[in-house]
């Protein structure tokens, strides 16, 4: 965006495909790491809530407070403890997934019809068999909806980690983009992160489709 130069320079993209690919890879890795750990933590929290339903309010309340702290501020609050590191970025990213994931796991499990649980009990399923083989499969669409929301949110938030020295597509937006007044790099980063969000969303939808064959059978 310097006078006399064209705003967009497609040649730059072609010349820097390696760098762009590397940043895209980092972005995917940071997102997958955050959503996977977030899912494990949320699942643990959901099991605790099922054992002690009174925990629901506090867990959702605290996750809600974390969720409403702006990303740069949450990174900044962690820096005195974990420094300017990938760990800081990932702790914050995981924190942001909790609200959506815990809420959807609980909603999904609560939506299992009581007669189905009775039937499973009558068939002699143990508590954990019931959870894994009856309740979770029925709750899966709601849980996957949560994972989709968490993934799309995380893909957006990963860009902000470029401000604390991490990479991802945010590096293209900030470091080689905004800080050098270079629109081509900015747009490359933005377009790729939107595309990544769309692809991830569709991929998760496809996974849900494959994991719930009975829903397909009912639809046709």
């Amino acid at each position: 965006m310097i006078a006399g130069r064209p705003i967009l320079q497609p040649q730059w993209v072609l010349d820097n495909l390696d760098e762009i690919g590397r940043r895209l890879g980092e972005h995917v890795l940071m997102t997958v790491l955050a959503v996977t750990i977030g899912l494990v933590v949320s699942f643990g929290l959901a099991l605790l809530i099922r054992a002690w339903p009174r925990l629901y309010g506090p867990v959702i309340g605290i996750s809600g407070v974390i969720y409403s702290i702006p990303s740069l501020a949450l990174f900044a609050l962690l820096i005195p403890i974990t420094g300017i590191t990938l760990l800081t970025a990932e702790i914050a990213l995981v924190g942001y997934t909790l609200l959506i994931l815990v809420r959807n796991i609980i909603t999904g499990l609560d939506g299992v019809p009581p007669e189905v649980i009775d039937a499973a009990r009558g068939m002699g399923y143990s508590v954990s068999e019931r959870l894994w083989r009856v309740e979770l499969p029925i709750a899966l669409p709601v849980i996957v909806a949560g994972i989709r929301g968490a993934t799309v949110t995380t893909i957006g938030l990963v860009t902000v980690t470029s401000l604390i020295g991490m990479g991802g597509l945010g590096y293209l937006i900030v470091n080689t983009g905004i800080r050098r007044f270079f629109a081509t790099s900015i747009l490359t980063g933005v377009v790729l992160s939107v595309a990544l969000a769309v692809v991830a969303d569709l991929a998760l939808l496809a996974v849900q489709h494959r994991l719930t064959p009975w829903a397909r059978a009912r639809a046709t």
Binding site: S68, P70, L72, L77, I186
Partner: protein, 228 residues
């Protein structure tokens, strides 16, 4: 403990309160940038949402565009705002203008989609009754649809306000100042008390915004509706 002392020292340092880089100035930058952006977002999104909600014309297109807009990361909007500012206003620099453009763009989708959804939820029977009473379309909108849809519309405004205030922190990247500027300065010179102190202020501001707009949202339930 030593660290918290250093944070406290930053809060009480006279340099944090007078001069060009003060806490009140940065706070004011964040609040005013957010307020102006929210006002503009409402001014654009509300009429648009009311129009497509009342007539259902062009609604698919508008809602689809709004959903794509939502997939753009907030930092992405700040980046895109730079070339947009250059093309629209022939100004290439950093500052309030690109920050404001980005925040308005971020603030529009939640208000449009909620206004549209709120209006579409109004029962067709009520609209027919209104028409039967001889109400004109605008009267219908003002006296039937909007009062019923207001809590949903306000939920959109709240979500927009929270996003705008949060992203205003990032506006420091394009020279918008705000409390986020302290965080970037602190990262640049490795001044952790400044980073942490500013982050606490940002978090409090975000939570306060959430609470104020949550309160407003509950207040606007029309007396004819509600649970009572």
């Amino acid at each position: 403990m030593e660290f918290l002392g250093a944070v406290f020292a930053w809060f009480t340092d006279p340099a944090s309160w007078s001069g060009r880089n003060t806490i009140p100035l940065r706070l004011w930058e964040q609040v005013s940038l957010s307020a102006v952006s929210l006002a503009l977002a409402v001014a654009i999104a509300l009429p648009l949402g009311l129009y497509i909600g009342h007539t259902d014309r062009g609604s698919r297109l508008v809602v689809a565009i709004a959903n794509i807009g939502r997939a753009v990361p907030s930092l992405g909007w700040l980046g895109i705002a730079l070339p947009i500012t250059l093309v629209l206003f022939q100004r290439g620099g950093l500052g309030f203008l690109p920050a404001c453009i980005a925040l308005v763009a971020l603030g529009i989708p939640p208000i449009v989609t909620n206004t549209y959804a709120g209006l579409r939820e109004v029962s067709r029977d009520l609209l027919d009754a209104g028409r039967g009473m001889g109400m004109a379309e605008l009267q219908l909108l003002r006296r039937v649809e909007v009062p019923i849809a207001l809590p949903v519309i306000m939920a959109g405004v709240r979500s927009s306000a929270v996003t705008i205030v949060a992203t205003a922190t990032l506006a420091a990247v394009v020279g918008g100042g705000t409390l986020g500027d302290f965080i970037l300065q602190g990262l640049f010179v490795n001044d952790q008390p400044r980073i942490f102190g500013a982050a606490v202020l940002v978090a409090l501001l975000a939570l306060a915004t959430e609470m104020v707009f949550g309160y407003l949202q509950r207040r606007v339930v029309s007396p004819g509706l509600g649970t009572g």
